[in-house]
């Protein structure tokens, strides 16, 4: 009664894709020095919206994790100087297709009945790990749009269960939730090519951008998107700042 995994197939494709990507990178090594970066900060204009506190009383374990650090919603997180956290920056126009695919395997952790990071930016077909640091069972339930070709799934991770390793086929901002802890909510931001996510101060850096003209898009789960045109010179850092209007 061993159940087939629909994902096995996908996994294989992914593996192939990785090999292909690897070959591509080797090809790129030569002019690696010639690649520039795009940096900047994302700010919120106006007062930071009030983020509701989360009442986890349903699961005493979760409550204990936040005894001295009350949990809040993370839809809009503003740092010093109005820097916006969890904004995803990616190149929406101007990609040539032979950018280096990043090789590292990001981790999406379930910690204290919250997702860290709240938003995980991923390249198409980039493998990532879903792990749990909690002693309570979570279920991971990404909800991609059925039209995009990304296949929705819904799996539980009991404490100490091995990581779930998978990837996404097409670019999409996929919201992910835990049904056992309904307040748990985050995003897989699946984009094509080089990308970055802002830190606590709203700063970001997109690496491995070949010289050229690009349109950079900043995406925030609640505040929407903004774009800016930048020109990257070989080995130089181009700058692009964004400011979102508070609702």
């Amino acid at each position: 009664m061993k159940s087939l995994h629909g994902c096995n197939f996908v996994a294989m494709l992914v593996a192939l894709a990785m090999v292909a990507a690897g070959a591509l990178m080797l090809g790129q090594q030569v002019n690696a020095a010639a690649e520039g970066t795009i940096t900047g900060t994302v700010k919120l204009d106006g007062t930071a919206p009030h983020m509701k506190g989360i009442d986890m009383s349903k699961d005493p374990y979760c409550v204990k994790q936040h005894e001295n650090s009350p949990a809040h919603l993370e839809n809009v997180v503003v740092g010093q100087g109005g820097g916006l956290e969890n904004v995803v920056l990616y190149i929406s126009e101007g990609l040539t297709g032979n950018e280096a695919a990043s090789s590292e395997e990001p981790v999406f952790d379930q910690k204290g009945c919250l997702y860290t990071p709240h938003v995980l930016a991923l390249d198409v077909n980039q493998k990532f790990k879903v792990i749990t640091s909690d002693q309570t069972t979570h279920n991971i339930h990404p909800l991609p749009n059925a039209m995009t070709g990304n296949i929705p799934w819904n799996k539980s991770q009991p404490p100490g269960a091995p990581p779930i390793e998978t990837s996404w086929k097409t670019p999409e901002m996929i919201s992910v939730k835990c049904n056992i802890h309904p307040w748990m909510h985050g995003y897989f931001a699946v984009v094509k090519g080089p990308h970055a996510t802002t830190d606590g101060n709203g700063a970001y850096t997109i690496h491995n951008v070949p010289a050229g003209n690009y349109t950079v898009t900043a995406w925030q789960e609640d505040l929407g998107t903004q774009t800016a045109k930048v020109t990257v010179a070989a080995g130089k850092a181009a700058n692009a700042n964004f400011t979102f209007k508070g609702k």
Partner: protein
């Protein structure tokens, strides 16, 4: 061999009865106003059922003991009275038992379900969804705003789909993940299912009622003992069913008021 069977049956019967008699595992103490008749009903049924259980098992054992050893030469005896006695016995025993229990049962059932909630009962709305309960208090204006299913967004902690910006009634509604009620005050519980079937079970309150999607039911009860109890889901609702629960805090009126203020501040 037969005698051995007989002994085993008797031993099993008695051993099974002991935990019941000693209440080793028993219903949680009742904290509700309507619970007493239910408990009464339970112990009566337990007594009558227990007696018929022990009696019939022991008779079974007795006959096995007595007649398993009999030699082919022994004559076949027939039970005095034959089948007719049995039929009459069954009708008398069970019939009276049934009527007795039935009548009392109706009483117990009636004062849960046939009595209307008092006018001054405190309305609380509970919404069940995969896999958590959320509660809504009407706030000072005493009235709930309408629900907009399309606005429901757990991501933004809008679990009920209330529209604070446009519905005046919703402005002061208080949504909580834990249920608190004042002691000795009747609660009028308005039950709403968000997605699939769930159930509202508080053993101490002697209350169990399904949430029926598409059909909003209501319950009313009065808690008589201050304390913290658990509300659990008893209707299979999916993978998180086992962990679908909320706490029920029964507090003094003062504590309740301050609790409500605290929660209101967090909205």
């Amino acid at each position: 061999m037969g005698k051995f069977v007989a002994v085993t049956i008797v031993v099993i019967a008695i051993v099974s009865a002991i935990p019941i008699l000693r209440h080793t595992w028993w219903m949680a103490p009742d904290i509700s106003q309507h619970g007493a008749p239910i408990d009464e009903q339970m112990s009566e049924t337990m007594a009558e059922a227990g007696i018929s259980f022990l009696a019939s098992q022991i008779i079974l054992a007795l006959f096995i003991w007595k007649f398993s050893g009999s030699r082919p030469s022994d004559p076949i005896k027939s039970f005095p009275g034959g089948a007719k006695t049995m039929v009459w016995a069954a009708f008398l025993l069970v019939g009276t038992e049934v009527l007795a229990l039935g009548v009392f049962g109706v009483k117990a059932w009636a004062n849960v379900y046939f009595a209307a909630p008092a006018a001054n009962a405190l309305p609380v709305q509970v919404q069940a969804g995969q896999f958590a309960f959320y509660f809504r208090y009407p706030g000072p204006d005493g009235s709930f705003g309408p629900l907009h299913p399309d606005l429901i967004s757990e991501a933004n902690a809008n679990f009920f789909g209330i529209d604070v910006d446009h519905d005046p009634d919703s402005k002061d509604d208080i949504v909580t993940a834990e249920m608190a009620i004042p002691v000795n005050r009747e609660i009028h519980l308005l039950m709403h299912a968000k997605d699939v079937g769930h159930s509202f079970f508080v053993p101490e309150l002697r209350v169990q009622q399904d949430f029926v999607p598409g059909l909003d039911l209501s319950l009313h009860f009065t808690a008589t003992k201050i304390g913290r109890y658990e509300i659990v889901c008893t209707q299979l609702c999916g993978l998180g069913h086992y962990n679908m629960k909320a706490y029920l805090s029964v507090m003094s009126q003062e504590d309740f008021d301050s609790w409500l203020k605290k929660e209101a501040a967090l909205q």
